[in-house]
């Protein structure tokens, strides 16, 4: 895919102070493309990228794209077992890792750290691939088995970044700060690729720890930041710890990936000063933001988002009819729609129907075309903006010899919005407590998915028809231990 490497922006890694001016980035993209082309990277061929949050990551990503390959960007904190599952599922041409990566033996694919310049390159290969070739896979669940990978073509990604530029503006994108991870759409496409492809100066400071939150204002002032995006949980930390920026450079802040209360929205706006604060709606299946708006002067209502950023939205009402206004499940048509779930046409057919993507989110569209979200129709758990599918936790736990049955669900949490709770029924005489089960999970799944609230129960509540109802289990457990 012949990307316009001459129009790329600069990347600064805030912690190390390392700066990659656009010419250095472009040159390294070509060097790495030459290096990885030896491994058969080309149109339609997946490449697993298991590092992120650095200039080197973007050089790898753009090198894969230059060759027309499809980059599957995964959480660098995946457990070895999760990485093995994804490698088996994707059969990638190679695994691209950062300098700190250890392991990878037995995966059956070449493991390459292309940041090592001694790894060489050679003559830059010709760009390959076209607009409708697969470009990106982001996994939303199933890293312990049965992976669900959202696949976007180049056309979808370029449509999204073009629309983002249109609705944000290049002046606002001129100096962007990204604190988010780069293995999900919000951080990768919205916060990083949009400014980078627009020639903006991208500042990377990944990490949502307390120290980073306390130093956010200083980073904004030191680098003259004009734009940043993040999740509501980060703002809980920032508002608790950090003083506001004083430099007056901040033009816009986006908040997304989790519900934003009107009170939090107002508090962030007070912190941001002259900068506008926008509540955004986006889904991995739509690349990233598809709707959003600034804090209304009169204050926001609960669940208020904003109008669509290109494309169209409708609601599917109780009778299954699509309506332009009213309440129901939010369905969308957007130029940045995924091509489908990688290798899973069955799952794709469930959500892509007659050209509309069925989001699973409940909401309404008012007379002004403004989108409001009122909740999710399915049971996805949202821990600080990271989504966890409870079915994945059920299946994992049911592989434990002491667990007969498990049912995971969302538990409200003051700081992260939601955390993972689970009800587990153990085998008779099982000599195993919640802590041991938690440690067992911790060895097999990434941190955010490990259940934090455990309910060891004698039986899992069922509906009158004998089915496990997640709502019923959740209500029963939280009554036991609110």
């Amino acid at each position: 895919m012949r990307l316009d490497l001459d129009s790329l922006g600069t990347i600064t890694e805030v912690r190390t102070g390392e700066v990659w001016p656009a010419p250095r980035l472009a040159a390294d993209v070509l060097r790495r493309a030459a290096l990885i082309s030896r491994h058969g990277v080309g149109p339609g061929r997946p490449v697993l990228i298991a590092h992120g949050g650095s200039a080197s990551f973007f050089a790898d990503l753009l090198a894969v794209w230059h060759l027309g390959g499809c980059a599957a960007c995964v959480n660098p904190a995946l457990t070895p077992g999760e990485l093995e599952v994804l490698t088996g599922f994707l059969a990638p041409a190679l695994l691209l890792v950062g300098p700190d990566f250890a392991g990878g033996e037995g995966l059956g694919v070449p493991v390459v750290s292309s940041a090592d310049e001694k790894a060489g390159g050679g003559e830059p290969p010709e760009a390959a691939g076209g607009l409708d070739d697969p470009a990106l896979i982001l996994f939303t669940s199933g890293t312990t088995g049965d992976p669900k990978g959202v696949e976007h073509g180049f056309r979808s990604l370029l449509a999204r970044t073009a629309l983002n530029r249109r609705f944000i503006g290049d002046e606002t994108l001129a100096r962007t700060l990204c604190v988010l991870p780069t293995h999900f759409g919000h951080g990768l496409i919205g916060n990083c690729l949009t400014p980078l492809l627009a020639g903006g100066h991208l500042h990377l400071a990944p990490g949502t720890g307390l120290r980073e939150a306390a130093e956010l204002a200083a980073a904004i002032d030191d680098h003259g930041i004009t734009f940043l995006s993040s999740v509501p949980t980060l703002w809980k930390l920032v508002l608790k710890l950090g003083k506001p920026p004083a430099g007056g450079t901040l033009r816009r802040v986006h908040v997304g990936s989790a519900p934003l209360s009107p009170e939090a929205w107002q508090r962030i706006a007070d912190w941001a000063g002259a900068g506008e604060v926008w509540n955004m709606y986006g889904i991995t299946e739509t690349a990233n933001w598809i709707a959003g708006g600034p804090l209304p002067r009169a204050g926001a209502g609960a669940g208020q988002i904003g109008p669509m950023w290109g494309g169209a939205a409708a609601v599917r009402d109780a009778k299954g009819e699509l309506r332009r206004r009213g309440k129901g499940e939010i369905v969308v048509q957007t130029p940045s729609l995924m091509s489908g779930y990688h290798k899973r046409p069955d799952l794709t057919a469930e959500v892509l129907r007659a050209g509309w993507y069925h989001t699973g989110d409940a909401g309404r569209i008012d007379d002004d075309g403004v989108l409001w979200l009122t909740g999710r129709r399915d049971h996805v758990i949202n821990r600080a903006g990271l989504k966890i599918h409870p079915e994945e936790i059920d299946l994992l736990l049911e592989r434990h010899p002491a667990v007969l049955e498990a049912c995971a669900f969302a538990v409200p949490d003051e700081i992260s919005g939601e955390i993972v709770g689970v009800a587990a029924r153990l085998a008779d005489g099982a000599d195993c407590g919640a802590e041991a089960l938690r440690a067992w999970c911790g060895e097999r799944i990434r941190r955010e998915s490990v259940p934090e609230k455990w309910f060891l129960v004698d039986k899992i509540p069922r509906t009158s028809t004998g089915k496990v109802s997640r709502n019923k289990v959740r209500a029963s457990c939280l009554k036991q231990k609110p």
Binding site: G209, L210, R211, A214, K240, G242, I415, G433, E452, K453
Partner: protein
């Protein structure tokens, strides 16, 4: 240390008995910024006062929690 141990056990949903006196918070499985803030809010609730930013950032060990609880 008893009060500190109880507070930490509740915040992390772990067994009190498994928390040693010399526990370093970052070494606990599952420790992250969200749990850190949960512990901070629990301390603030217990002492009835907000902690200054530096105290929050310097909270690194069980004994720091005990010291803050004793400062009530």
């Amino acid at each position: 240390m008893t009060g500190a141990r109880r507070l930490l056990a509740q915040a992390l949903e772990i067994d009190e008995d498994g928390i040693a006196d010399d526990t370093v918070l970052e070494s606990l499985k599952g420790w992250d910024s969200i749990v850190h803030l949960r512990v901070v809010l629990a301390i603030e609730s217990a002492i009835g006062a907000e902690l200054p930013t530096e105290e929050i950032l310097d909270l690194k060990a069980l004994e720091d929690i005990a010291r803050l609880l004793d400062s009530k």
